[in-house]
């Protein structure tokens, strides 16, 4: 979302939905309702949402739920999913033991 964002933009009231208790992020157990509610509390970007609720911050780093979170947020904000910048991918690709990651120098 590179366009100017008015943080008081009217996105309407939070309306509870039947499937709000469905878990979207399985690693951190974050529900659809929590994500929708956070948007109404001013959480407008994927980066903010991850920091606010911890979705996508667990073992899979959002590889499972990233797209779904984006779709839910875009619908709530009334914008297209492609207007939301995805989260930065972060190394390592798979969780790695500290003793392995520490061993990057040959001959030690």
């Amino acid at each position: 979302m590179e366009k100017l964002q008015d943080r008081f933009a009217d996105i309407g009231e939070f309306i509870p939905q039947q499937d709000d208790d469905v878990i979207v992020c399985r690693c951190e157990e974050i529900t659809k309702g929590e994500i929708r509610k956070a948007v109404h509390e001013g959480i407008f970007t994927i980066g903010e949402m991850r920091r606010y609720l911890r979705n996508g911050m667990g073992l899979c780093q959002g590889q499972t739920c990233g797209k779904m979170v984006k779709g839910i947020m875009a619908r709530e904000l009334g914008i297209r999913p492609m207007d939301l910048t995805p989260a930065t991918a972060r190394a390592p690709m798979r969780p790695m033991e500290m003793k392995i990651l520490a061993n990057d120098r040959s001959g030690d």
């Binding site: 366009k3 100017l4 606010y52 003793k99 061993n103 120098r105």
Partner: protein, 375 residues
């Protein structure tokens, strides 16, 4: 779009958002302008979360001590959101006699201005934190230090400020400040001109060009900082950790993961530090360093690495001040990589300065015009 207000805060990080909150609490009308799409996407969300008084320069110690005594303990309640503040002490660890001498010097300096810091030996360390390696022979111990969650604390200030009516605009770049009859009255941006009575510049490293536009320069440079995050572990210890060797720092979060930062030694020369890319050698270095203090964590998995960018002031402490020669301008920047812990008190003071009041905490060592040539 609202373009006129009492105070414009440039930067939505924890300094800017907390300043906006304290102003709004006093009935002041505020607009916050953020260059990035995301609120607090600079150092505010990219730091180790230390709420520490020990090891600080005496010039910023009054802010640190005031915050720990008066602001941090009630912050979650005040902002209506858990910022995960823990006050379980800070251990600064040493492995050699030279380390201990350095720690003792820091502890003595802090004790002299009334902070409770003392040196403890290996046995006493193990009573506080049983996972410590035998290589650690001593530490400085400050029981009133602690840590909080910087991601949540930053967004908590933003959320509360917004609830109080502070208008935020993100993805708007400040190009320059504008003067009217010698007073700062305009903020000229990529989205047009905003008009105000007072500007607070709290834009981290981005503060320098903004202040330059009205002839004020604060000598600071960007410096990269790398961090690693582990998978969640059962609770092990709540202390904030640092080392005399400055090879790593960190703590376990309420969520269970550990957040550890550290430096390979090449940070000052990293390419494009403001892009905040992780460097290739640092995560491995931090893992090796931690293995030397906490062998129990060797099998813990790293799930994520990230980097941030410090705004390093030439003398290592921030500028928190009203600009004398220009009416309507206050600066809070150059926090040099240790701004999170003092953010609430620094922002409280910035809000006082922006309201034309006297600072209620001693900031006499943090003036903008203190940078003189060496004698």
């Amino acid at each position: 779009m609202k373009t006129t207000t009492d105070v414009i805060v440039i930067g939505s990080g924890i300094i800017g958002s907390a300043t906006a909150y304290y102003l709004a609490k006093n009935g002041v009308d505020v607009i916050v302008l953020e260059k990035d799409a995301t609120i607090g996407n600079g150092s505010s969300s990219r730091n180790g979360g230390g709420v520490r008084q020990s090891g600080r320069d005496v010039r910023e110690l009054p802010l640190a001590m005031y915050g720990v005594k008066n602001l941090w303990p009630s912050l979650s309640e005040e902002l209506g959101m858990n910022v995960e503040y823990h006050q379980d002490g800070n251990l600064r660890l040493g492995k050699t006699e030279a380390h201990l001498a350095k720690l003792k010097q820091l502890a003595d300096n802090a004790s002299a201005v009334g902070l409770d810091v003392k040196m403890i030996d290996g046995e006493e360390i193990k009573k506080i934190c049983p996972y410590m390696s035998d290589e650690v022979i001593g530490a400085s111990w400050c029981p009133t230090d602690g840590h909080a969650n910087p991601l949540l604390a930053t967004l908590a200030y933003y959320r509360k400020a917004r609830q109080l009516g502070v208008q935020y605009y993100s993805s708007v770049t400040v190009e320059k400040l504008g003067l009217v009859r010698g007073k700062v009255r305009k903020v000229i941006t990529s989205e047009g001109t905003f008009e105000t009575e007072m500007v607070v510049v709290a834009a981290g490293i981005g503060s320098r060009p903004i202040l330059n536009s009205v002839g004020i320069d604060i000598p600071m440079n960007p410096k990269i900082a790398d961090t690693i995050v582990t998978e969640a572990q059962a609770p092990m210890f709540w202390q904030m950790l640092g080392t005399a060797a400055a090879d790593f720092y960190g703590h376990q979060t309420e969520h269970g993961s550990f957040v550890f930062g550290g430096g390979s030694g090449h940070e000052t020369y990293a390419k494009n530090p403001e892009q905040m890319y992780s460097t290739s050698i640092t995560a491995s270095y931090i893992c090796r360093a931690i293995g030397g203090y906490f062998p129990a964590l060797n099998d813990t998995k790293i799930v994520r690495t990230w980097a941030g960018c410090h705004d390093i002031c030439s003398d290592g402490v921030p500028v928190i001040d009203r600009i004398d020669e220009l009416e309507g301008l206050v600066a809070g920047c150059g926090f040099s990589g240790h701004g999170f812990g003092i953010a609430p008190s620094a922002a409280l003071v910035l809000s006082e300065l922006a309201m034309g009041k006297k600072a209620s905490i001693d900031i006499s060592g943090l003036r903008y015009n203190r940078f003189k040539a060496k004698a």
